[in-house]
Amino acid sequence: MPTAISQPSILTEAPRTSAVFPAWFARTQEAAWTSFQQTAAPKRGDEPWRFSSLKELDFSATTRAEFLGEASELIQRSKGLEQFSAKFVFVNDGFALAINHLPKSVICMPLAEALLSHSELVEQYFMRHPATLGSKKFTDLHTAHLSNGMFIHVPAGVVVEHPIEIFHWVQGQHQATFPHTLIVAGEKAQVRVIETFQSINERDATWTIAVNDLIAEKAANLQYSVVQALNTESKIISVNASEISASAVATSFQLHTGAAWARSESICRLLGEESRSYMFAVSVPSHDQEYDLRTFQHHVSPGAYSDLLYKNSLYDESRTIFSGLIFVDEGAHRTDAYQTCRNLLMSNACEANSMPGLEINADDVKCSHGSTSSQISEEEIFYLRARGIHSDTARQLIARGFSIEVISRLAHEASETYILRMLDEKFATLKS
């Protein structure tokens, strides 16, 4: 009797926790694996997956990515900022390069190393909050399979001058990586981190299931930017959560130009008076790319501020989904919360879905949310063309300007320059 051959895949293979990792981590992976198996897959009609293309969630032939030995060419290709405090390169989650000019007191190292040298510290912050925007099953999968990532801990009072850069390169048909980035800024500490996801070649359909957690302790300032520029065969789920204590500021910025399909869930939890959260995203999908962006601004504490600005410029037959919720807890009085999603429709065939939302359970609250979708204004185009600028160039300048309005909110020139360069790489491939 023929038996069905069950292919090995990340859905069927139990975690392979390295024997050198601490016991708590092995237990966490085991528990995540159990939870993953017990959690139902998203299905049609699930609110957090409304408008999503669930068919994209196919991992059946997907296996854990293998580490590639030779990385010197990729290190060359990892071109970021002119000045950085540290630079790390990973290839299929394997550590490939570390350059570190940070003050000695800053812990900045691959997670696999931190699990050995700073096990207790990592444990204290690791996966403190489960994903709440629909991807719990996938963060479980991430936790079960992850083998590496970055751990950054900036102790109280330390100001890191230049950004820390992290580059991830992925390759391998139907191979999956599980990068985990954990950043803790201690009291009054300041740090900027820029993470970039890229594919080694244009051909391989890879899966990335990434989690990044930002913890800004009292009066800290933490700015995290991620550039997703994977090849257009690949898919990514990324779950970003920030925890912001009193008087601290956390900024989370995303640029999406790559991937066939990207799901991003971004959460901020405002935990103290005068905590501030900024959530920004720029997406430029083209062809049949689809970006599914979900956000949650959670005002736990009174007297906190959050602002969200997501902008999508949609080309060709691309599709975006934005679903955002401002949630003001009972007692979170004097909340100040804003949410804006704007879509620039660069073709007649694209599709932008927006679901802004607001739930207020406190008094004396200032909140606004809104979304708009529009084509390029004819008057703007006319103005540029009346100066001799070709129609295609004019449209591109305007779309670029639309994105720059978000990027400039980072208020850090070197970061903006890098992100703009990555954005321009996308624009260079587009016909207006």
């Binding site: 004819e378 540029l384 063309r385 100066r387 305007i398 300007g401």
Partner: protein
């Protein structure tokens, strides 16, 4: 050499006629002014010449040194040498003024050739100085959050950078205080030369005190109804546009 408008008719998309046979020739070396009441079609004339797609040309011609420009795209007309300083310049968020003007200059170069950035900024700053524009305007988004006067100055800055053969200035004086008006006039006067022509559209005589026209025309109901020398502007200042009613009833 001239910008020649002959028997130009144009309508809105719904067929409403706005221009009803405009005849006007602006030779290089001359400054012409068009005056006329609100709604007479002055801005429409300037937009039709620039190629705005809200209007349909139903008759007549516009030629630039003998070349028909009505067949050209909007951007082609600009590169061919017509410039319109807008009455209401558009705001372009996220596009810096410097990049915008640079893109306009770049569009005039052959493929593969690039603007020399150092020379460009030197030139830009010199012109901004002449127009008493703060350097911060290079980095600011085009016209966004500019005051009315700043927008008009920015139009003249573009004019000075692009050095067009024929310039049309649509109500560049409106919204300017006297000091700003003088500065704008200084910019325009600096550009006057034997090989450039200007068409000033204005509602008021005031601008013409600072940019002296060679000829003045009056537009009404989509036509040029009177033409004369600079003294016509003064006369209009005295008598207003009431004579137009008499013309209409005569």
């Amino acid at each position: 050499m001239s910008l020649l408008i002959e028997n130009l008719h144009a309508t809105l998309e719904d067929g409403t006629p706005i221009l009803n046979g405009v005849n006007l020739e602006i030779p290089t070396g001359e400054v012409h002014a068009i005056m006329g009441p609100n709604g007479s079609g002055k801005s429409t004339l300037s937009k039709v010449i620039s190629g705005h797609e809200s209007y349909i040309v139903t008759g007549g011609s516009v030629t630039l040194d003998g070349v028909d420009i009505l067949e050209m795209d909007i951007d082609q007309r600009s590169r061919a040498g017509v410039f319109l300083a807008f009455q209401y310049p558009a705001e372009v968020p996220g596009v810096s003024n410097a990049n915008f003007i640079r893109a306009a200059l770049q569009a005039r170069l052959p493929k593969g050739q690039d603007i020399d950035a150092v020379a460009y900024y030197k030139n830009l700053y010199a012109k901004m100085d002449l127009l008493e524009m703060d350097r911060k305007f290079t980095a600011r988004s085009v016209n966004e959050g500019f005051s009315g006067g700043e927008k008009k100055r920015n139009e003249i800055l573009q004019l000075m950078m692009l050095e067009p053969k024929y310039s049309i200035l649509d109500e560049t004086d409106s919204g300017l205080d006297i000091d700003a008006l003088k500065i704008v006039a200084k910019g325009v006067n600096a550009m006057r030369s034997a090989d450039r022509g200007f068409l000033l559209i204005t509602h008021y005589q005031r601008l013409l005190d600072y940019i002296a026209p060679d000829y003045v025309h009056v537009m009404s109901a989509g036509q040029i109804v009177r033409s004369g020398g600079p003294e016509l502007a003064l006369e209009l200042e005295e008598t207003g546009y009431d004579f137009l009613k008499e013309l209409a009833t005569a």
